[in-house]
């Protein structure tokens, strides 16, 4: 159907500029993803402690050296352990953490699919 094809093409054209145009590492975003180790549940961005001040300097240095965000987190994890980052790394310990939610999503979708499909079956008979 010609109309549908035209719509599809316009659609595809619109989709091209969608990808991100800004990939710089932003210091304040990195601060938010790091935990202040001497505080009770605050991030480096939120904390006014000595430790937070020091970590901010180290992060800024690394950004200026051109390090990528993941490299900065890995560096700090090697020094302080995984506890320091709020972004759990995807390794064998945290595998379940990242996969279980999606497993639930797929399971839910499957259940709905079964419910709707059963009806189609009944209708056919």
């Amino acid at each position: 159907m010609k109309l549908k094809k035209i719509i599809f093409v316009i659609y595809a054209l619109f989709l091209t500029p969608l990808y991100s145009n800004d990939n710089k590492v932003v210091a304040s975003e990195v601060y938010k993803n790091l935990r202040c180790l001497v505080c009770q549940g605050q991030s480096i961005a939120d904390s006014n402690s000595d430790f937070a001040t020091t970590i901010k300097l180290v992060v800024l240095d690394q950004i200026n050296e051109g390090k990528k965000e993941d490299e900065i987190y890995n560096f700090l994890i090697s020094k302080y352990g995984e506890w320091i980052t709020y972004h759990p790394t995807f390794n064998k310990n945290n595998f379940l953490l990242w996969t279980l939610p999606y497993a639930v999503l797929v399971l839910g979708g499957f259940i709905i699919f079964l419910i709707v499909r059963k009806n189609k079956h009944n209708k056919a008979n």
Partner: protein, 172 residues
């Protein structure tokens, strides 16, 4: 109620979660960086507090069987309580390096004049960035490193009598 696999699984999971929570209640919530033990220390460069031109790197530590690295500052009161143990250790077979953390040079020198200087070398860490290389998050903290640059002991907070005895046993 018929017994079936799914019901067994559900009930087991509930009991399992209950046990986990119960254990979780008993656990200590405070985090410390004991994980650094067994890691190799990273490359560093320490500039002497008194002499800008004098510096040491990690290579210098390979010459010692054991090195004690102690982070301190003049404004830190627990650092005072552990100082006597550092002084005692300075006469033993262990090289003691002090890193003066976020401090004014004059205050650090007066601190050491008042309490005594146990350090074979004093490095300065004006803005704290060097402490991050060593995985330090508060002071005082002390690390014991062997000749292959592996961290074998980590003490968070001031050294007490028990920890002093532990260090003595280690270096005998």
């Amino acid at each position: 109620m018929k017994i079936s696999i799914s019901k067994i699984i559900i009930f087991s999971f509930i009991i399992f979660s209950f046990l986990i929570f119960w254990q979780g209640l008993k656990k200590n919530n405070d985090y410390d960086t004991k994980n650094l033990i067994g890691n190799k220390i990273s490359n560093f460069q320490l500039i002497d507090l008194n002499n800008e031109k004098k510096l040491i790197t990690e290579e210098d530590l390979r010459k010692n069987e054991y090195t004690l690295i102690n982070f301190f500052a003049s404004w830190c009161s627990p650092c005072r309580t552990e100082h006597e143990y550092l002084l005692k250790l300075s006469n033993k077979k262990i090289r003691i390096i002090g890193i003066n953390f976020k401090d004014k040079k004059s205050n650090a020198i007066s601190f050491l004049e008042e309490l005594g200087n146990p350090y074979d070398f004093i490095g300065k860490d004006k803005n704290g960035k060097i402490s991050v290389l060593f995985g330090i998050y508060g002071i005082p903290e002390t690390l014991i490193v062997d000749s292959s640059l592996i961290v074998i002991k980590k003490y968070i907070g001031p050294i007490d009598q028990n920890q002093y005895d532990e260090i003595l046993k280690l270096i005998q």
